[in-house]
């Protein structure tokens, strides 16, 4: 009997010990991109500051969200960064908790569009990007999104596939240019479908476009600002269009997992990430455009990222609920009009 008592006492001590060690571990789930830079600029300094251990899980958003869903009852991840739309999807399925903005000392410094992107208090934007058209100034003039489909231009255009992050925003702007503001994107998809044989390709990875531009396979393509820098290094006259309908784009946000035992630490980490110092360093390294309005960068850096109050205000983003509620319909419409 005594033995049993000792044993259970030992078990209790061990359990308490491991619980304490767990308190000092924060598990985050992020995109698998620029992890070397993130480690140097964000992860290592945070570990030093909080005296805790940071466990980083990476992957694309579909696999990461699937994993969070599978571990819903017993969450492994404490906080995650996902797209605005995925954040709304996670909020709807009850995977996330409200963000306690009173714990974020840097919250007031954020651009307005980043403060509560979905209007539900469940996420905070940490970076956003503009989407517009990169084009050859010696071959064409782009004043409107509809110019992409002009007869002398369209056979030199790469358009983003609807399955990419750039696809729906580009279609959304094309629709606006064609005079349709409907969330079903039908008018834009039909217009693209009519020209599908002339359009060079419907790209999936923007990294491929630099080569196509260099080979003069294409003269224009809608792209996200984060893939703009390599184009400026080509020895070709390429410009970033400012169409009259405006630029579109996307935003990535932070969410806190529902039922996470480390919500305080998660908020501390998010606040650190949103601080002027860290956001400036990430911008200077051309990793992420800043959502913190106090960040100041050189002209050269500004030219390669999405930067400034004016830009932030001019971005016409697709509302998350529109994207989420129409995603399947866009894909089947696209497959019917363009995919065959």
């Amino acid at each position: 009997m005594k033995k049993l008592l000792y044993l259970s006492a030992a078990a209790v001590v061990l359990a308490a010990g491991s619980a304490q060690a767990q308190d000092k571990t924060l598990t985050i789930s992020v995109y698998a991109f620029a992890q070397d830079e993130f480690k140097e600029i964000l992860y290592d300094p945070f570990e030093a500051k909080c005296g805790c251990k940071l466990v980083v899980e990476t992957g694309n958003s579909v696999e990461r969200l699937a994993k969070m869903e599978a571990n819903k009852e017993n969450p492994v991840v404490d906080m995650a960064v996902v797209s605005m739309t995925d954040a709304l999807s996670a909020a709807r399925t009850g995977l996330t908790d409200k963000i306690d903005t009173s714990k974020l000392t840097n919250f007031d410094k954020l651009y307005d569009i980043a403060k509560d992107p979905n209007g539900d208090g469940m996420s905070v934007g940490y970076t956003f990007y503009a989407t517009s058209i990169a084009y050859r100034t010696d071959k064409m003039k782009i004043e409107s999104w509809a110019d992409l489909l002009k007869d002398d231009v369209v056979s030199h255009v790469a358009f983003p596939n609807v399955t990419t992050n750039q696809g729906p925003p580009a279609l959304y702007m094309l629709g606006k240019a064609l005079g349709s503001d409907k969330p079903d994107l039908k008018a834009a998809i039909e217009a693209v479908g009519e020209k599908k044989d002339e359009i060079v390709t419907f790209y999936v990875k923007s990294s491929q476009l630099v080569q196509l531009m260099q080979q003069e396979e294409i003269w224009a393509a809608p792209i996200g600002r984060f893939s703009w820098a390599p184009f400026t290094k080509l020895d070709l006259p390429i410009a970033w269009a400012t169409p009259k309908e405006g630029q579109t784009g996307g935003m990535n946000v932070m969410v806190v997992t529902k039922g996470s035992k480390n919500q305080d630490l998660a908020h501390e980490f998010m606040d650190f990430w949103l601080s002027t110092e860290i956001q400036t360093k990430l911008a200077d390294a051309l990793v992420d455009s800043p959502a913190n309005s106090e960040v100041k960068v050189s002209d050269e850096v500004a030219n390669n990222i999405t930067y400034g109050q004016e830009t932030a205000q001019s971005l016409k983003l697709i509302p998350s609920d529109v994207a989420l509620d129409n995603r399947d319909a866009w894909l089947s419409e696209w497959n019917a009009e363009v995919g065959q």
Binding site: V62, T163, V200, Q211, E216, E217, G339
Partner: protein, 275 residues
């Protein structure tokens, strides 16, 4: 070799258990998704899949490209393999080395090279314009032709190697004997070489056909979403639509087509043998 069957089976057991645990069971679990809708066993996912025009187009395109690549690989493969087998030993080794060489380069690198070659300013278009066949560059990239060329280059070595080993087992005097007895080259091939090397053709054909149908990188890069194949459609279903039922259906179709191709090729080969 073994005292009894039990002993032989016991030796195979560890490998069998391993294969069952890490391959067969997971694959069956994955495929079963396609037959289960709302916890009910049904074929409705397959009916749904084939009721959509896009899916039918993609299915037929995959089948067509797979068959064309296999056929052309067999024709070029026989000629290449026959030429290599006829060489003296040293030269033969070097030529086989050259055939195998592309297999050692990553398919991604090889496929990207095709983007340069087949592009508007690439060597193919420059040559076509230089000899006056066309006034302005023709579009090859992001068409079925580009996917066909990429797949053929990717899998031709597998066909050539299979046929080389088959042709090496061909009796040395079989061809001269047939020629002396008055057979023309077509008859020599059809009545002597083909029946005697059918095993190599079946192996090579299965590898090329299965490879062409299940290749992802080449159709994704050279065809893009304008030339969707079953494999690129599967990827789209998983990563974008999050539709694992439809993805399981595609995976099942791909496996069935590979097995069917193998059976069909064996049939063709043995049917020739009976005449």
């Amino acid at each position: 070799m073994f005292q009894n069957r039990a002993e032989a089976l016991a030796l195979a057991l560890p490998a069998a258990i391993f294969a069952a645990l890490v391959f067969i069971v997971p694959v069956l679990l994955l495929l079963s998704e396609g037959f289960k809708v709302a916890e009910q066993w049904t074929l409705s996912a397959f009916v749904d899949f084939f009721s959509q025009p896009l899916n039918r187009t993609v299915f037929l395109r995959t089948l067509k490209l797979g068959a064309m690549v296999t056929l052309v690989a067999a024709v070029i493969g026989y000629a290449t393999a026959y030429a290599i087998v006829s060489l003296p030993a040293g030269a033969k080794g070097r030529m086989i080395g050259l055939v195998v060489l592309p297999l050692m380069i990553s398919p991604v690198a090889r496929t990207y090279a095709w983007i340069v070659i087949l592009g508007r300013t690439g060597i193919v278009n420059q040559a076509l314009m230089a000899i006056g066949l066309t006034d302005e560059p023709i579009r090859i990239l992001f068409t079925e032709t580009a996917v066909f060329i990429g797949l053929l280059q990717l899998f031709l070595p597998l066909m050539v190697i299979s046929l080389i080993s088959a042709l090496e087992n061909l009796p040395r005097d079989a061809v001269p004997a047939a020629r002396v007895l008055g057979a023309n080259w077509f008859q020599v091939f059809w009545k002597v070489i083909l029946p005697l090397t059918r095993e190599g053709l079946v192996v090579g054909g299965t590898l090329v056909f299965t490879g062409s149908m299940t290749a992802y990188i080449t159709p994704a890069i050279l065809g893009g979403s304008k030339v969707l194949m079953l494999e690129t459609l599967l990827y789209q279903q998983v990563t974008v639509a999050n539709n694992f039922v439809s993805a399981s259906v595609i995976a099942f179709i791909l496996i069935i087509m590979s097995v069917a191709a193998n059976i069909l090729l064996k049939r063709i080969a043995t049917a020739r043998n009976r005449t």
